[in-house]
Amino acid sequence: MNPRKGIHYGKILFALACAGYLIIAVRLLNIQVFQNKESRALTETRYQNVVENALASERRFQPLRGNIYSKNGHLLATTLYRYRIFADGSLIEPHEKERTLRLLSEVAGKEIKRISAGIENKSRYIPVIRRLDPGKAESVREKNESRGLFFRMDDPVRFYPSDTLGAHVLGYVNYAGQSTGVEKAFDMVLSGIDVTDIHELPADGADVVLTIDTNIQYFLEEALRWGYEQFSPLSVSGVIMDPATGEILAMGSYPSFDPNRFYDYAESDRIINRAIAHSFEPGSSFKLVALAASLEEKIVTEESVIDCEGGEINYKGEFIRDTMTNKKLTFPEVFQRSSNVGVIKLADRLGKEKLYYYAKLFGFTEKKSLELPSEAMCRIKDVRQWVPAELGTFSIGYGMSVNLLRLTAAYAVPANGGVLPELHIISRVDYPYSDSYHIKPVTIRRVLDKKTAERVRDILRSVVEKGLQDKASPRGVAVAGKTGTATKFDSVKRKYDRKRVVGTFVGFFPADRPQYVMGIMVDEPAGGGYASQFVVPVFKRAAENVARYSGL
């Protein structure tokens, strides 16, 4: 109370303080109570790894690299912190030097000479060991008696909890920050923004959620591995996708690698994702284009009969034969028996522009199908440069090359009612400070009329049923698809080598309401043979598990 003027200064100050506390209380009410629920929902999934990651580190100005999750919520890639040991030469007493060197050499597993000179010179900062396991680092810390050794748990290491699962999709990040696979394709969003000024803030990287389902991925990889052991080829690759959305559900190749130990594979070709980075002549599985084009252009019906001339034809100077003697076949039978002569006759009636146009519609001339790097482009010659006989060889899948992913995507067209979906490998990006970005399915173009697509589907179904005697179908689930066996071109001898073959089978199931399209490629099996012998069993093995998993 102020006796002079009757102003209660104390009360004014008290009112000010009350106002201040009230503002803080309201703000806290807002943060703690109203934002609370929201943060709970956010935290249970993010909290665990984000907080624990940051707990383990003394990270201040480095952004945290985002995690990679599978569609079904499994953590596929994250960043852990390991120990970094460095020494301060001026703090290591001369009598401690020998002991310290011995201790460090022991844990490093090799003689550390480099730091000896640094200790002599009393250098203030000598890096000793990087990315050391916490257990080892703790044991060194316990045994260490010198003041001059420092332990910091702030050395980031990329960690892939499921080891080899999905390795080709994920890729890896090496210590220099170079990467492959999804790690490379989405490096921009994953890595966040680094800062150099300590008063600025690093922006953490976003989490990437893939379209890969780890279960389906496992079934695929298990089948690929089985196929590799069974037929001992150079490699076995496979892709499984959802025909309706273009989502890649699984993709892989065997032999595979462990991205946690990427340094062991520096000279190895195992890190190549052969499902996209390997291009080959598809052979008969490419006959899909001629099949669909013939129906869409209405040059044939299912009842048409094509004379296959006993299985041999001299088409404009190129002598081509079937694998069995075929006389007069109906249109579906041409594909059931995979008659080259029949398909060439159909292609001749279509004309080269039409055939090329349909190959283009099916997406075989696209430069890139997926966000992933190092995709081998499909090599298809422009129709204006074709020599006359190329119409025939093109229609049966020779004189060009495709990659397995492209070929599989083409089979999504009859499976989903005639449209070509845009392929993608990620379904969502979760940004730390803004809304998640959902990738929506996009249709690139309509390739076939819906009716035509259904007819193509039925014919492909009959190919598996009659041509393969249902060897590709798991119990109770009908598969539609087409095999392809192509002999390899020997570039030294300048001719096709009959012993070296690459086999493919692309199919979808269930045939009446397709949910999965799967493409399998087996490269050069030891015994040779036909795709129906060495690819279809691999397909069936994976399809059986997938069908059981999805309750078909």
């Binding site: 109370m1 104390g10 100050l13 201040g20 803080i24 934002q35 609370n36």
Partner: protein
């Protein structure tokens, strides 16, 4: 016989006991990670805080026996001494630089912050000089003449602290002058005018001045008004509060506290918020309000100007410093290095507040004697 009242509002001992309990428990949970990080001994800060708390009790007891009136003539010399100490921060052997700020003096067995000490002596000095000159300086012109030693001293103090890279404390010093000028009843309109213009100039200087301060302020303004990302510490502080909810995650089970670089000093409030929750935080705020209310009631009871000045200055420092600290943790103020009075680790600050409250107690005893 009627029982003689011993205190106004609530006994100081009770309030202090509550603060002690909160402070020790808060340190017990909040200081472990920073202590591990800095020294490797998880109880390093906690043990030191316990020692400071014990010494604080002794200081409180000693100060409660002081007779403030006898101390007043000495205050200019006391404050000159703290100016010397503030200057000593810049001497190469004595001064210690931490995180780019020169705020500490190291004399072997003891390291302390002269700016905290200066807050104490300045409060005493301002109390004494305004008491002595009651009724003087009616016009603004007089106020800025060189004969006005209190303002000169305050300005020099603020400048020295500012030179040690402690912007917020120098502002607090100036505000203390503004408060006593206001409370002493001279020309309140002028106070408002000068205070608001000083605030605006300060803001402009900081915003245009560049450097880390402007960076901090920019990021804070961006966060508060444009919904940008909060600064590193603030991000975790707010996340900590969000985890807390009504009743907290439970004592000792907070996770975000480990992410706060200054969990035991500047951001202890966030740790309490995460572990104990909103309801408990309201209780803590009430405790600060009770303390301030007690000092104001005391000042109402007091018959002497110097007592009034001292009580109001001490109370304001106590309340507004706590408001600033809490405001920082919830993102209402840009990040500054202000402790939460009587809770945070920061031994100089803790002891200074205990000394101030000890003197408050001595005034209280005096008032009780008069009432009785």
């Amino acid at each position: 016989m009627m029982k003689r009242p011993k205190a106004v509002v609530i006994d100081m001992k009770v309030i202090l006991a509550a603060f002690y309990v909160f402070s020790v428990l808060a340190m017990w949970t909040a200081s472990v990670t920073p202590a591990m990080r800095n020294t490797g001994n998880p109880l390093f800060f906690f043990k030191r805080h316990l020692v400071a708390a014990a010494v604080g009790l002794v200081i409180y007891f000693l100060c409660s026996r002081l007779v403030l009136k006898r101390l007043l003539p000495l205050t200019p010399w006391l404050h000159l001494f703290s100016l010397l100490l503030l200057f000593a921060v810049f001497l190469p052997r004595l001064g210690v630089e931490i995180n780019g700020a020169r705020r500490w003096i190291d004399i072997g067995f003891l390291r302390f912050q002269p700016s905290e000490w200066a807050k104490l002596t300045l409060i005493l000095y301002l109390t004494a000089s305004f008491h002595k000159e009651a009724g003087g300086y009616r016009r603004l012109g007089d106020h800025f003449s060189l004969n006005n030693y209190p303002l000169l001293m305050t300005a020099v103090t603020a400048l020295l602290i500012f030179a040690g890279n402690d912007f917020s404390t120098s502002i607090v010093i100036l505000v203390l002058y503004g408060i006593i000028y206001f409370v002493s009843g001279r020309n309140p309109k002028a106070v408002m005018f000068w205070a608001s213009s000083a605030l605006l100039t300060g803001l402009l200087v900081v915003l245009r001045g560049g450097g880390f301060r402007s960076g901090r302020l920019d990021s804070w303004l961006n966060y508060l008004f444009h919904g940008g990302p909060p600064a590193y510490q603030l991000r975790h502080s707010i996340a900590a509060f969000q985890m807390g909810g009504y009743f907290g995650r439970g004592f000792g089970s907070g996770a975000y506290k480990s992410l706060l670089p200054e969990a035991h000093t500047d951001f202890v409030f966030a740790v309490i918020g995460e572990e104990m929750g909103f309801v408990f935080i309201l209780g803590l705020i009430a405790l600060y309000l009770i303390m301030f209310y007690k000092l104001i009631r005391l000042s109402d009871e007091s018959k002497h100007d110097y007592e009034r000045y001292f009580l109001l200055l001490t109370g304001s420092l106590f309340a507004f410093q706590s408001i600033i600290n809490m405001g920082v943790t919830v993102g209402l103020f840009p990040v500054t290095g202000m402790t939460l009075p009587l809770i945070s680790y920061g031994r100089t600050s803790f002891l200074i507040f205990m000394a101030l409250l000890g003197m408050v107690r001595s005034i209280e005893k005096d008032i009780m004697r008069r009432i009785a």
